[in-house]
Amino acid sequence: MTRQWKLLDYALASLLRRKGKNLSILVIYTLTVATLASVLFLTQSLRQEATKVLSGGPDLVVQRLMAGRHELVPLNYADPIRKLPGVKSVQPRVWGYYYDSLKKVNLTLMGLPAEPEILVLLEGERPSKGQEIAVGRGIADTYGFGVGDSLLLIDAAGEKQLYRITGLFETGSDLLTNDLILFPEAELRRFFAMPTNRATDLAVSVYNPREVATLAQKVRYHLPDSRPIGKTEILHTYDTVFHWRSGMLLTVSLAALIAFCILAWDKATGISADERREIGILKAVGWDTTDVLALKFWEGLAVSLVAFLLGTILAWTHTYVFGAGLLAPVIQGWSVLFPDFDLTPSVDLYQLFILGMLTVTPYIACTVIPSWKAAITDPDSVMRS
Protein backbone atom coordinates (compact mmCIF):
# COMPACT_ATOMS: atom_id res chain seq x y z
CA MET A 1 0.00 0.00 0.00
CA THR A 2 2.74 2.43 0.98
CA ARG A 3 4.51 1.36 -2.17
CA GLN A 4 1.56 2.25 -4.43
CA TRP A 5 1.13 5.60 -2.67
CA LYS A 6 4.74 6.41 -3.27
CA LEU A 7 4.49 5.36 -6.89
CA LEU A 8 1.39 7.52 -7.33
CA ASP A 9 3.20 10.41 -5.72
CA TYR A 10 6.12 9.91 -8.06
CA ALA A 11 3.74 9.65 -11.04
CA LEU A 12 2.08 12.98 -10.23
CA ALA A 13 5.45 14.63 -9.78
CA SER A 14 6.68 13.35 -13.11
CA LEU A 15 3.51 14.57 -14.84
CA LEU A 16 4.25 18.01 -13.45
CA ARG A 17 7.83 17.75 -14.67
CA ARG A 18 6.53 17.39 -18.24
CA LYS A 19 4.01 20.12 -17.71
CA GLY A 20 3.83 21.46 -21.27
CA LYS A 21 3.26 18.15 -22.95
CA ASN A 22 0.84 16.78 -20.40
CA LEU A 23 -1.15 19.99 -20.24
CA SER A 24 -1.74 19.98 -23.98
CA ILE A 25 -2.79 16.34 -23.84
CA LEU A 26 -5.12 17.15 -20.97
CA VAL A 27 -6.73 19.99 -22.92
CA ILE A 28 -7.36 17.96 -26.08
CA TYR A 29 -8.56 15.09 -24.03
CA THR A 30 -10.88 17.18 -21.89
CA LEU A 31 -12.43 18.74 -25.00
CA THR A 32 -12.98 15.31 -26.50
CA VAL A 33 -14.74 14.11 -23.38
CA ALA A 34 -16.72 17.35 -23.18
CA THR A 35 -18.01 16.91 -26.75
CA LEU A 36 -19.01 13.33 -26.21
CA ALA A 37 -20.63 14.08 -22.87
CA SER A 38 -22.52 17.08 -24.31
CA VAL A 39 -24.04 14.87 -26.97
CA LEU A 40 -24.89 12.36 -24.31
CA PHE A 41 -26.53 14.88 -22.00
CA LEU A 42 -28.45 16.48 -24.83
CA THR A 43 -29.96 13.31 -26.26
CA GLN A 44 -30.70 12.05 -22.80
CA SER A 45 -32.55 15.22 -21.83
CA LEU A 46 -34.53 15.35 -25.04
CA ARG A 47 -35.56 11.76 -24.74
CA GLN A 48 -36.53 12.33 -21.14
CA GLU A 49 -38.59 15.32 -22.20
CA ALA A 50 -40.41 13.34 -24.87
CA THR A 51 -41.25 10.61 -22.45
CA LYS A 52 -42.61 13.15 -20.01
CA VAL A 53 -44.76 14.75 -22.70
CA LEU A 54 -46.29 11.48 -23.65
CA SER A 55 -46.90 10.16 -20.20
CA GLY A 56 -49.39 12.99 -19.75
CA GLY A 57 -50.98 12.50 -23.15
CA PRO A 58 -53.97 10.36 -24.14
CA ASP A 59 -53.74 6.57 -24.19
CA LEU A 60 -55.01 6.36 -27.72
CA VAL A 61 -55.26 8.92 -30.47
CA VAL A 62 -57.59 8.21 -33.35
CA GLN A 63 -56.81 9.90 -36.66
CA ARG A 64 -58.51 9.52 -39.98
CA LEU A 65 -56.75 8.59 -43.16
CA MET A 66 -57.90 9.41 -46.65
CA ALA A 67 -55.83 8.44 -49.62
CA GLY A 68 -53.09 7.62 -47.16
CA ARG A 69 -53.07 11.09 -45.74
CA HIS A 70 -54.09 12.57 -42.43
CA GLU A 71 -57.64 13.95 -42.68
CA LEU A 72 -59.99 15.74 -40.30
CA VAL A 73 -62.14 13.38 -38.24
CA PRO A 74 -65.95 13.70 -38.31
CA LEU A 75 -67.21 14.28 -34.77
CA ASN A 76 -69.68 11.41 -35.00
CA TYR A 77 -66.70 9.00 -35.19
CA ALA A 78 -66.58 9.43 -31.43
CA ASP A 79 -69.90 7.63 -30.92
CA PRO A 80 -68.93 4.05 -31.84
CA ILE A 81 -65.70 4.42 -29.91
CA ARG A 82 -67.46 5.67 -26.82
CA LYS A 83 -69.63 2.55 -26.88
CA LEU A 84 -66.64 0.17 -26.76
CA PRO A 85 -66.25 -1.48 -23.36
CA GLY A 86 -63.15 -0.28 -21.55
CA VAL A 87 -63.22 3.24 -23.00
CA LYS A 88 -63.38 5.91 -20.32
CA SER A 89 -63.80 8.99 -22.48
CA VAL A 90 -63.44 10.29 -26.02
CA GLN A 91 -62.46 13.90 -26.54
CA PRO A 92 -62.32 15.50 -29.98
CA ARG A 93 -59.26 17.74 -30.29
CA VAL A 94 -58.78 20.76 -32.47
CA TRP A 95 -55.17 21.60 -33.12
CA GLY A 96 -52.69 22.26 -35.89
CA TYR A 97 -49.38 23.74 -36.80
CA TYR A 98 -48.56 27.28 -37.70
CA TYR A 99 -45.32 28.37 -39.30
CA ASP A 100 -44.19 31.91 -38.59
CA SER A 101 -41.98 32.75 -41.55
CA LEU A 102 -40.71 35.89 -39.86
CA LYS A 103 -39.42 34.20 -36.74
CA LYS A 104 -38.88 30.92 -38.59
CA VAL A 105 -40.54 28.86 -35.91
CA ASN A 106 -43.16 26.16 -35.94
CA LEU A 107 -45.90 26.65 -33.41
CA THR A 108 -48.58 24.32 -32.19
CA LEU A 109 -52.04 25.86 -31.94
CA MET A 110 -54.53 24.02 -29.78
CA GLY A 111 -58.18 24.58 -28.97
CA LEU A 112 -59.56 24.52 -25.44
CA PRO A 113 -60.77 22.43 -23.68
CA ALA A 114 -59.12 19.54 -25.48
CA GLU A 115 -56.28 18.93 -23.03
CA PRO A 116 -57.42 19.78 -19.52
CA GLU A 117 -54.24 18.24 -18.03
CA ILE A 118 -52.00 20.98 -19.30
CA LEU A 119 -54.15 23.75 -17.84
CA VAL A 120 -52.64 22.86 -14.49
CA LEU A 121 -49.43 24.39 -15.76
CA LEU A 122 -51.03 27.66 -16.78
CA GLU A 123 -50.31 30.88 -14.95
CA GLY A 124 -52.68 33.75 -15.50
CA GLU A 125 -56.12 33.55 -17.08
CA ARG A 126 -57.18 30.89 -19.49
CA PRO A 127 -58.36 32.33 -22.82
CA SER A 128 -62.13 32.42 -22.84
CA LYS A 129 -63.32 35.00 -25.35
CA GLY A 130 -62.33 35.16 -28.98
CA GLN A 131 -59.01 37.00 -29.60
CA GLU A 132 -57.57 35.65 -26.36
CA ILE A 133 -54.73 33.15 -26.13
CA ALA A 134 -52.32 31.55 -23.68
CA VAL A 135 -48.76 30.84 -24.87
CA GLY A 136 -45.79 28.71 -23.88
CA ARG A 137 -42.61 30.11 -22.40
CA GLY A 138 -40.67 29.44 -25.59
CA ILE A 139 -43.05 31.58 -27.61
CA ALA A 140 -43.08 34.37 -25.07
CA ASP A 141 -39.27 34.40 -25.21
CA THR A 142 -39.09 34.20 -29.00
CA TYR A 143 -41.37 37.20 -29.43
CA GLY A 144 -40.35 38.97 -26.26
CA PHE A 145 -43.96 39.11 -25.07
CA GLY A 146 -45.68 38.70 -21.74
CA VAL A 147 -49.22 38.67 -20.40
CA GLY A 148 -51.21 41.59 -21.75
CA ASP A 149 -49.23 41.87 -24.97
CA SER A 150 -50.78 41.04 -28.29
CA LEU A 151 -49.58 38.58 -30.90
CA LEU A 152 -50.22 38.95 -34.60
CA LEU A 153 -51.10 35.78 -36.51
CA ILE A 154 -52.40 35.29 -40.03
CA ASP A 155 -55.46 33.11 -40.33
CA ALA A 156 -56.50 30.67 -43.03
CA ALA A 157 -58.19 33.45 -44.98
CA GLY A 158 -54.97 35.45 -45.01
CA GLU A 159 -56.32 38.01 -42.59
CA LYS A 160 -54.15 39.52 -39.85
CA GLN A 161 -55.49 38.68 -36.42
CA LEU A 162 -54.42 40.24 -33.15
CA TYR A 163 -54.59 38.03 -30.05
CA ARG A 164 -54.16 39.21 -26.49
CA ILE A 165 -52.06 37.01 -24.22
CA THR A 166 -53.95 36.20 -21.03
CA GLY A 167 -51.77 33.43 -19.62
CA LEU A 168 -48.34 31.86 -19.76
CA PHE A 169 -47.08 28.33 -19.38
CA GLU A 170 -44.19 29.04 -17.05
CA THR A 171 -42.56 25.64 -17.06
CA GLY A 172 -39.89 26.68 -19.47
CA SER A 173 -38.45 23.27 -19.98
CA ASP A 174 -41.62 21.49 -20.93
CA LEU A 175 -41.69 20.36 -24.54
CA LEU A 176 -45.44 20.01 -24.39
CA THR A 177 -46.21 23.63 -23.66
CA ASN A 178 -43.08 25.31 -24.90
CA ASP A 179 -44.26 26.02 -28.45
CA LEU A 180 -47.96 25.91 -27.63
CA ILE A 181 -50.63 28.53 -28.21
CA LEU A 182 -53.95 27.84 -26.59
CA PHE A 183 -57.15 29.21 -28.17
CA PRO A 184 -60.80 28.97 -27.30
CA GLU A 185 -61.87 26.11 -29.53
CA ALA A 186 -64.44 28.08 -31.54
CA GLU A 187 -61.87 30.76 -32.29
CA LEU A 188 -59.29 28.21 -33.45
CA ARG A 189 -61.82 26.60 -35.79
CA ARG A 190 -62.46 29.98 -37.27
CA PHE A 191 -58.71 30.67 -37.53
CA PHE A 192 -58.03 27.40 -39.35
CA ALA A 193 -61.35 27.55 -41.24
CA MET A 194 -62.18 24.13 -39.88
CA PRO A 195 -65.79 22.85 -40.25
CA THR A 196 -67.69 22.65 -36.97
CA ASN A 197 -68.48 18.96 -37.38
CA ARG A 198 -64.83 17.94 -37.66
CA ALA A 199 -61.85 17.65 -35.32
CA THR A 200 -58.13 17.11 -35.86
CA ASP A 201 -58.20 13.84 -34.00
CA LEU A 202 -59.88 12.06 -31.11
CA ALA A 203 -58.16 11.57 -27.78
CA VAL A 204 -59.30 8.37 -26.15
CA SER A 205 -58.62 7.44 -22.57
CA VAL A 206 -59.13 3.92 -21.34
CA TYR A 207 -59.58 2.19 -18.00
CA ASN A 208 -56.87 -0.38 -18.47
CA PRO A 209 -53.77 0.70 -20.41
CA ARG A 210 -53.07 -2.92 -21.30
CA GLU A 211 -56.21 -3.04 -23.40
CA VAL A 212 -55.03 -0.24 -25.70
CA ALA A 213 -53.88 -2.60 -28.45
CA THR A 214 -57.15 -4.58 -28.50
CA LEU A 215 -59.20 -1.40 -28.41
CA ALA A 216 -57.19 -0.02 -31.31
CA GLN A 217 -58.08 -3.13 -33.30
CA LYS A 218 -61.75 -2.72 -32.50
CA VAL A 219 -61.70 0.94 -33.49
CA ARG A 220 -60.23 0.01 -36.85
CA TYR A 221 -62.89 -2.67 -37.26
CA HIS A 222 -65.74 -0.22 -36.69
CA LEU A 223 -64.11 2.67 -38.54
CA PRO A 224 -62.07 1.22 -41.41
CA ASP A 225 -60.63 4.59 -42.46
CA SER A 226 -59.34 5.43 -38.99
CA ARG A 227 -55.82 5.19 -37.74
CA PRO A 228 -55.65 4.54 -34.00
CA ILE A 229 -52.23 5.25 -32.47
CA GLY A 230 -51.41 3.90 -29.04
CA LYS A 231 -49.19 5.78 -26.64
CA THR A 232 -46.46 3.17 -26.94
CA GLU A 233 -46.50 3.62 -30.69
CA ILE A 234 -46.03 7.34 -30.33
CA LEU A 235 -43.20 6.77 -27.93
CA HIS A 236 -41.71 4.53 -30.55
CA THR A 237 -41.97 7.18 -33.26
CA TYR A 238 -40.43 9.76 -30.97
CA ASP A 239 -37.64 7.36 -30.25
CA THR A 240 -37.04 6.81 -33.94
CA VAL A 241 -36.82 10.52 -34.49
CA PHE A 242 -34.42 10.84 -31.61
CA HIS A 243 -32.34 8.00 -32.86
CA TRP A 244 -32.15 9.60 -36.24
CA ARG A 245 -31.06 12.80 -34.55
CA SER A 246 -28.59 10.87 -32.50
CA GLY A 247 -27.21 9.59 -35.75
CA MET A 248 -26.30 13.12 -36.71
CA LEU A 249 -24.86 13.71 -33.31
CA LEU A 250 -22.88 10.57 -33.78
CA THR A 251 -21.05 12.34 -36.56
CA VAL A 252 -19.87 14.93 -34.11
CA SER A 253 -18.95 12.25 -31.65
CA LEU A 254 -16.99 10.44 -34.30
CA ALA A 255 -15.06 13.57 -35.12
CA ALA A 256 -14.19 13.87 -31.48
CA LEU A 257 -13.27 10.22 -31.35
CA ILE A 258 -10.95 10.64 -34.30
CA ALA A 259 -9.21 13.52 -32.56
CA PHE A 260 -8.83 11.27 -29.59
CA CYS A 261 -7.43 8.43 -31.70
CA ILE A 262 -4.86 10.71 -33.27
CA LEU A 263 -3.80 11.66 -29.80
CA ALA A 264 -3.67 8.05 -28.72
CA TRP A 265 -1.75 7.08 -31.83
CA ASP A 266 0.77 9.81 -31.18
CA LYS A 267 1.32 8.38 -27.75
CA ALA A 268 1.27 4.77 -28.88
CA THR A 269 3.84 5.19 -31.61
CA GLY A 270 6.48 5.57 -29.00
CA ILE A 271 7.73 7.15 -25.88
CA SER A 272 10.27 9.90 -26.06
CA ALA A 273 14.01 9.25 -25.69
CA ASP A 274 13.78 11.04 -22.38
CA GLU A 275 11.11 8.72 -21.08
CA ARG A 276 13.05 5.69 -22.26
CA ARG A 277 16.16 6.89 -20.48
CA GLU A 278 14.18 7.48 -17.32
CA ILE A 279 12.76 3.96 -17.44
CA GLY A 280 16.28 2.59 -17.91
CA ILE A 281 17.54 4.51 -14.92
CA LEU A 282 14.65 3.45 -12.73
CA LYS A 283 15.29 -0.15 -13.60
CA ALA A 284 19.00 0.23 -13.02
CA VAL A 285 18.45 1.49 -9.49
CA GLY A 286 16.24 -1.44 -8.61
CA TRP A 287 12.73 -0.84 -9.94
CA ASP A 288 11.26 -3.91 -11.51
CA THR A 289 9.02 -4.16 -14.55
CA THR A 290 5.80 -4.03 -12.54
CA ASP A 291 6.96 -0.91 -10.70
CA VAL A 292 7.55 0.88 -13.99
CA LEU A 293 4.21 -0.28 -15.37
CA ALA A 294 2.44 0.75 -12.17
CA LEU A 295 4.02 4.18 -12.50
CA LYS A 296 2.75 4.49 -16.07
CA PHE A 297 -0.66 3.25 -15.00
CA TRP A 298 -0.95 5.97 -12.36
CA GLU A 299 0.18 8.58 -14.85
CA GLY A 300 -2.45 7.45 -17.33
CA LEU A 301 -5.15 7.20 -14.71
CA ALA A 302 -4.41 10.66 -13.32
CA VAL A 303 -4.53 12.36 -16.71
CA SER A 304 -7.58 10.53 -18.02
CA LEU A 305 -9.56 10.78 -14.82
CA VAL A 306 -8.96 14.50 -14.52
CA ALA A 307 -9.83 14.93 -18.20
CA PHE A 308 -12.97 12.88 -17.74
CA LEU A 309 -14.13 14.87 -14.72
CA LEU A 310 -13.29 18.25 -16.25
CA GLY A 311 -14.87 17.21 -19.54
CA THR A 312 -18.06 16.10 -17.84
CA ILE A 313 -18.33 19.31 -15.85
CA LEU A 314 -17.64 21.32 -18.99
CA ALA A 315 -20.31 19.38 -20.89
CA TRP A 316 -22.80 19.87 -18.10
CA THR A 317 -22.20 23.59 -18.09
CA HIS A 318 -22.33 23.77 -21.86
CA THR A 319 -25.52 21.76 -22.17
CA TYR A 320 -27.54 23.05 -19.27
CA VAL A 321 -26.21 26.51 -18.60
CA PHE A 322 -25.51 27.57 -22.18
CA GLY A 323 -28.20 25.47 -23.84
CA ALA A 324 -25.79 23.35 -25.87
CA GLY A 325 -25.04 26.36 -28.04
CA LEU A 326 -22.03 24.82 -29.70
CA LEU A 327 -24.05 21.87 -30.89
CA ALA A 328 -26.68 24.16 -32.38
CA PRO A 329 -25.75 23.55 -36.04
CA VAL A 330 -26.24 19.85 -35.54
CA ILE A 331 -29.48 20.02 -33.63
CA GLN A 332 -31.05 22.71 -35.75
CA GLY A 333 -33.86 20.34 -36.62
CA TRP A 334 -34.97 20.49 -33.05
CA SER A 335 -35.17 24.19 -32.83
CA VAL A 336 -37.65 24.11 -35.68
CA LEU A 337 -39.71 21.56 -33.84
CA PHE A 338 -39.41 23.41 -30.58
CA PRO A 339 -38.35 27.03 -30.29
CA ASP A 340 -35.46 27.16 -27.88
CA PHE A 341 -36.28 25.86 -24.50
CA ASP A 342 -34.19 25.20 -21.44
CA LEU A 343 -33.10 21.62 -21.04
CA THR A 344 -33.87 19.92 -17.78
CA PRO A 345 -30.68 18.33 -16.49
CA SER A 346 -30.95 14.61 -16.86
CA VAL A 347 -27.98 12.35 -16.48
CA ASP A 348 -27.90 8.66 -17.15
CA LEU A 349 -25.26 7.39 -14.75
CA TYR A 350 -24.89 4.18 -16.67
CA GLN A 351 -24.11 6.04 -19.89
CA LEU A 352 -21.70 8.26 -18.01
CA PHE A 353 -20.00 5.20 -16.63
CA ILE A 354 -19.67 3.75 -20.13
CA LEU A 355 -18.25 7.04 -21.37
CA GLY A 356 -15.78 6.96 -18.52
CA MET A 357 -14.72 3.44 -19.36
CA LEU A 358 -14.41 4.28 -23.05
CA THR A 359 -12.17 7.25 -22.40
CA VAL A 360 -10.14 6.25 -19.37
CA THR A 361 -9.30 2.68 -20.32
CA PRO A 362 -7.86 3.28 -23.81
CA TYR A 363 -5.80 6.16 -22.51
CA ILE A 364 -4.28 4.08 -19.75
CA ALA A 365 -3.53 1.38 -22.31
CA CYS A 366 -1.89 3.99 -24.53
CA THR A 367 0.27 5.07 -21.63
CA VAL A 368 1.24 1.68 -20.32
CA ILE A 369 1.73 -0.40 -23.46
CA PRO A 370 4.44 1.70 -25.20
CA SER A 371 6.45 1.63 -21.97
CA TRP A 372 6.19 -2.10 -21.82
CA LYS A 373 9.05 -2.79 -24.17
CA ALA A 374 11.39 -0.42 -22.39
CA ALA A 375 10.30 -1.85 -19.06
CA ILE A 376 11.24 -5.42 -19.96
CA THR A 377 14.57 -4.58 -21.58
CA ASP A 378 17.97 -4.60 -19.86
CA PRO A 379 18.54 -1.18 -18.31
CA ASP A 380 21.91 -0.87 -19.96
CA SER A 381 20.53 -0.96 -23.49
CA VAL A 382 17.53 1.19 -22.56
CA MET A 383 19.74 3.91 -21.13
CA ARG A 384 22.12 3.92 -24.06
CA SER A 385 19.59 3.90 -26.90
Binding site: K283, T377, P379
Partner: protein, 225 residues
Protein backbone atom coordinates in the same frame (compact mmCIF):
# COMPACT_ATOMS: atom_id res chain seq x y z
CA UNK B 1 35.35 -20.61 -0.39
CA UNK B 2 32.97 -20.22 -3.31
CA UNK B 3 33.29 -16.86 -5.05
CA UNK B 4 30.53 -14.27 -4.77
CA UNK B 5 30.59 -13.60 -8.47
CA UNK B 6 31.88 -15.95 -11.14
CA UNK B 7 32.44 -14.73 -14.66
CA UNK B 8 32.89 -17.56 -17.06
CA UNK B 9 34.22 -17.03 -20.60
CA UNK B 10 32.11 -13.98 -21.16
CA UNK B 11 32.06 -12.10 -24.47
CA UNK B 12 30.08 -8.99 -25.29
CA UNK B 13 29.53 -7.88 -28.86
CA UNK B 14 27.56 -4.75 -29.72
CA UNK B 15 25.74 -4.20 -33.02
CA UNK B 16 26.29 -7.80 -34.03
CA UNK B 17 26.38 -8.59 -37.76
CA UNK B 18 26.38 -4.92 -38.58
CA UNK B 19 29.11 -2.79 -40.13
CA UNK B 20 29.76 -1.06 -36.80
CA UNK B 21 30.12 -4.29 -34.85
CA UNK B 22 32.24 -3.86 -31.69
CA UNK B 23 33.60 -6.65 -29.56
CA UNK B 24 33.74 -4.99 -26.14
CA UNK B 25 34.69 -8.14 -24.18
CA UNK B 26 36.44 -11.29 -25.35
CA UNK B 27 36.36 -14.49 -23.39
CA UNK B 28 36.73 -12.91 -19.96
CA UNK B 29 36.82 -15.23 -16.94
CA UNK B 30 37.10 -13.83 -13.44
CA UNK B 31 36.11 -14.75 -9.88
CA UNK B 32 35.30 -12.09 -7.29
CA UNK B 33 35.25 -12.91 -3.57
CA UNK B 34 32.94 -11.53 -0.91
CA UNK B 35 34.47 -8.55 0.90
CA UNK B 36 37.22 -8.17 -1.66
CA UNK B 37 37.96 -4.79 -3.23
CA UNK B 38 38.74 -5.02 -6.92
CA UNK B 39 39.64 -2.34 -9.42
CA UNK B 40 39.38 -2.78 -13.18
CA UNK B 41 41.99 -0.83 -15.08
CA UNK B 42 42.86 -0.39 -18.72
CA UNK B 43 42.84 2.18 -21.49
CA UNK B 44 39.72 3.91 -22.65
CA UNK B 45 37.54 1.57 -24.66
CA UNK B 46 39.08 -1.55 -23.17
CA UNK B 47 35.74 -2.78 -21.85
CA UNK B 48 35.71 -1.75 -18.16
CA UNK B 49 32.21 -0.31 -18.23
CA UNK B 50 30.91 -3.24 -20.25
CA UNK B 51 32.23 -5.69 -17.71
CA UNK B 52 30.79 -3.76 -14.76
CA UNK B 53 27.37 -3.74 -16.48
CA UNK B 54 27.48 -7.52 -16.74
CA UNK B 55 28.53 -7.91 -13.11
CA UNK B 56 25.75 -5.59 -11.96
CA UNK B 57 23.13 -7.45 -14.05
CA UNK B 58 22.46 -4.34 -16.12
CA UNK B 59 23.07 -6.22 -19.37
CA UNK B 60 23.46 -9.75 -20.68
CA UNK B 61 26.56 -11.13 -22.37
CA UNK B 62 26.52 -12.31 -25.97
CA UNK B 63 28.08 -15.55 -24.76
CA UNK B 64 29.41 -16.97 -21.53
CA UNK B 65 27.89 -17.06 -18.09
CA UNK B 66 27.72 -14.97 -14.94
CA UNK B 67 26.97 -16.57 -11.56
CA UNK B 68 26.00 -14.73 -8.42
CA UNK B 69 26.52 -17.04 -5.44
CA UNK B 70 26.32 -20.12 -7.67
CA UNK B 71 23.10 -18.93 -9.25
CA UNK B 72 23.33 -18.31 -12.95
CA UNK B 73 21.94 -14.84 -13.57
CA UNK B 74 22.71 -14.69 -17.28
CA UNK B 75 19.63 -16.62 -18.27
CA UNK B 76 17.27 -15.28 -15.61
CA UNK B 77 14.17 -13.57 -16.95
CA UNK B 78 14.19 -9.80 -16.57
CA UNK B 79 11.74 -9.69 -13.68
CA UNK B 80 14.06 -11.82 -11.51
CA UNK B 81 17.06 -9.78 -12.58
CA UNK B 82 15.38 -6.63 -11.28
CA UNK B 83 15.09 -8.27 -7.90
CA UNK B 84 18.73 -9.40 -8.02
CA UNK B 85 19.84 -5.85 -8.80
CA UNK B 86 17.71 -4.36 -6.06
CA UNK B 87 18.81 -6.78 -3.39
CA UNK B 88 22.53 -6.91 -4.13
CA UNK B 89 23.95 -4.00 -6.04
CA UNK B 90 24.50 -0.30 -5.78
CA UNK B 91 25.72 1.08 -9.08
CA UNK B 92 27.58 4.35 -9.67
CA UNK B 93 27.52 5.01 -13.40
CA UNK B 94 30.32 6.67 -15.27
CA UNK B 95 27.80 9.12 -16.74
CA UNK B 96 25.93 9.25 -13.39
CA UNK B 97 22.53 8.52 -15.02
CA UNK B 98 20.74 10.91 -12.72
CA UNK B 99 17.33 12.35 -13.53
CA UNK B 100 18.37 15.90 -14.21
CA UNK B 101 14.96 17.48 -13.56
CA UNK B 102 14.57 15.91 -10.14
CA UNK B 103 16.00 17.33 -6.96
CA UNK B 104 19.04 15.85 -5.28
CA UNK B 105 16.92 14.26 -2.57
CA UNK B 106 14.45 12.77 -5.05
CA UNK B 107 17.29 11.27 -7.07
CA UNK B 108 18.87 9.76 -4.01
CA UNK B 109 15.53 8.28 -2.93
CA UNK B 110 14.73 6.70 -6.31
CA UNK B 111 15.80 3.18 -5.29
CA UNK B 112 13.51 3.32 -2.26
CA UNK B 113 10.41 4.57 -4.05
CA UNK B 114 8.99 1.18 -5.06
CA UNK B 115 9.51 -0.30 -1.61
CA UNK B 116 7.25 -0.46 1.41
CA UNK B 117 9.63 1.70 3.43
CA UNK B 118 7.56 4.46 5.06
CA UNK B 119 8.11 8.00 3.81
CA UNK B 120 9.44 9.17 7.16
CA UNK B 121 12.08 6.46 7.23
CA UNK B 122 13.02 7.43 3.68
CA UNK B 123 13.51 11.04 4.72
CA UNK B 124 15.71 10.01 7.60
CA UNK B 125 17.89 7.93 5.35
CA UNK B 126 18.14 10.71 2.81
CA UNK B 127 19.23 13.20 5.48
CA UNK B 128 21.85 10.82 6.74
CA UNK B 129 23.30 10.21 3.29
CA UNK B 130 23.13 13.89 2.29
CA UNK B 131 25.05 14.73 5.42
CA UNK B 132 27.69 12.13 4.72
CA UNK B 133 28.29 13.48 1.21
CA UNK B 134 28.17 17.09 2.23
CA UNK B 135 25.11 17.66 0.04
CA UNK B 136 22.71 18.92 2.69
CA UNK B 137 22.78 22.45 1.33
CA UNK B 138 22.14 21.16 -2.20
CA UNK B 139 19.25 18.88 -1.21
CA UNK B 140 16.46 20.82 -2.88
CA UNK B 141 18.34 21.84 -6.03
CA UNK B 142 17.65 20.19 -9.36
CA UNK B 143 20.48 17.92 -10.40
CA UNK B 144 21.07 19.88 -13.59
CA UNK B 145 22.05 22.87 -11.47
CA UNK B 146 24.93 20.97 -9.84
CA UNK B 147 28.62 20.85 -10.74
CA UNK B 148 30.16 17.63 -12.07
CA UNK B 149 31.68 16.78 -8.71
CA UNK B 150 28.42 17.34 -6.89
CA UNK B 151 26.59 15.15 -9.39
CA UNK B 152 29.14 12.42 -8.84
CA UNK B 153 28.50 12.54 -5.12
CA UNK B 154 24.75 12.37 -5.69
CA UNK B 155 25.30 9.30 -7.88
CA UNK B 156 27.33 7.63 -5.13
CA UNK B 157 24.79 8.59 -2.49
CA UNK B 158 22.01 7.06 -4.57
CA UNK B 159 23.98 3.83 -4.96
CA UNK B 160 24.39 3.56 -1.18
CA UNK B 161 20.89 4.49 -0.02
CA UNK B 162 19.78 0.87 -0.38
CA UNK B 163 22.71 -0.37 1.75
CA UNK B 164 23.88 -2.81 -0.93
CA UNK B 165 26.20 -5.77 -0.31
CA UNK B 166 28.07 -5.00 -3.52
CA UNK B 167 28.98 -1.49 -4.59
CA UNK B 168 29.95 -1.09 -8.23
CA UNK B 169 31.50 2.27 -9.08
CA UNK B 170 32.61 3.27 -12.57
CA UNK B 171 35.31 5.98 -12.43
CA UNK B 172 34.08 7.29 -9.06
CA UNK B 173 36.79 9.96 -8.76
CA UNK B 174 36.65 11.24 -12.33
CA UNK B 175 35.06 14.53 -11.34
CA UNK B 176 36.38 14.92 -7.82
CA UNK B 177 39.29 17.04 -6.67
CA UNK B 178 41.99 15.51 -4.54
CA UNK B 179 40.39 16.31 -1.20
CA UNK B 180 37.03 14.91 -2.24
CA UNK B 181 38.70 11.84 -3.75
CA UNK B 182 40.45 11.24 -0.45
CA UNK B 183 37.16 11.59 1.37
CA UNK B 184 35.57 9.09 -0.98
CA UNK B 185 38.35 6.56 -0.47
CA UNK B 186 37.89 6.92 3.28
CA UNK B 187 34.20 6.27 2.88
CA UNK B 188 34.90 3.22 0.70
CA UNK B 189 37.31 1.95 3.36
CA UNK B 190 34.63 2.16 6.00
CA UNK B 191 32.18 0.34 3.71
CA UNK B 192 34.81 -2.33 3.19
CA UNK B 193 35.22 -2.66 6.95
CA UNK B 194 31.45 -3.20 7.18
CA UNK B 195 31.81 -6.09 4.75
CA UNK B 196 30.69 -4.46 1.52
CA UNK B 197 32.23 -5.91 -1.61
CA UNK B 198 33.64 -3.12 -3.78
CA UNK B 199 34.15 -3.36 -7.53
CA UNK B 200 35.61 -0.26 -9.14
CA UNK B 201 36.78 0.79 -12.57
CA UNK B 202 39.32 3.54 -12.77
CA UNK B 203 42.38 4.87 -14.47
CA UNK B 204 43.11 7.25 -11.63
CA UNK B 205 46.48 6.17 -10.07
CA UNK B 206 45.25 7.53 -6.75
CA UNK B 207 42.52 4.90 -6.75
CA UNK B 208 44.50 2.09 -8.37
CA UNK B 209 47.40 2.37 -5.93
CA UNK B 210 45.29 3.00 -2.84
CA UNK B 211 46.04 0.59 0.04
CA UNK B 212 42.34 -0.23 0.15
CA UNK B 213 42.58 -2.15 -3.13
CA UNK B 214 43.04 -5.91 -2.81
CA UNK B 215 43.15 -6.77 -6.44
CA UNK B 216 43.87 -5.09 -9.75
CA UNK B 217 42.43 -6.51 -12.97
CA UNK B 218 43.89 -5.20 -16.19
CA UNK B 219 41.74 -5.15 -19.33
CA UNK B 220 43.14 -4.65 -22.76
CA UNK B 221 41.02 -4.50 -25.87
CA UNK B 222 38.24 -6.43 -24.17
CA UNK B 223 40.43 -9.21 -22.81
CA UNK B 224 42.20 -9.77 -19.50
CA UNK B 225 45.85 -8.79 -19.80
Amino acid sequence: MTPLIQIDQVSQTFNRHQPDEVQALRDVSLDLQTGETTVLTGPSGSGKTSLLSLIGCMARPTSGRVHLEQREVTRLPERFLAEVRRENFGFVFQQFNLLRDLTVTDNILLPLTPTSLPAREMRNRAEEVLERFDLTRRATLKVRQLSGGEQQRVAIARALINRPRVLIADEPTAHLDHALAEGLMELLSSLKTDGTTLILASHDPFVIDHPLIDRRVQLHDGALA
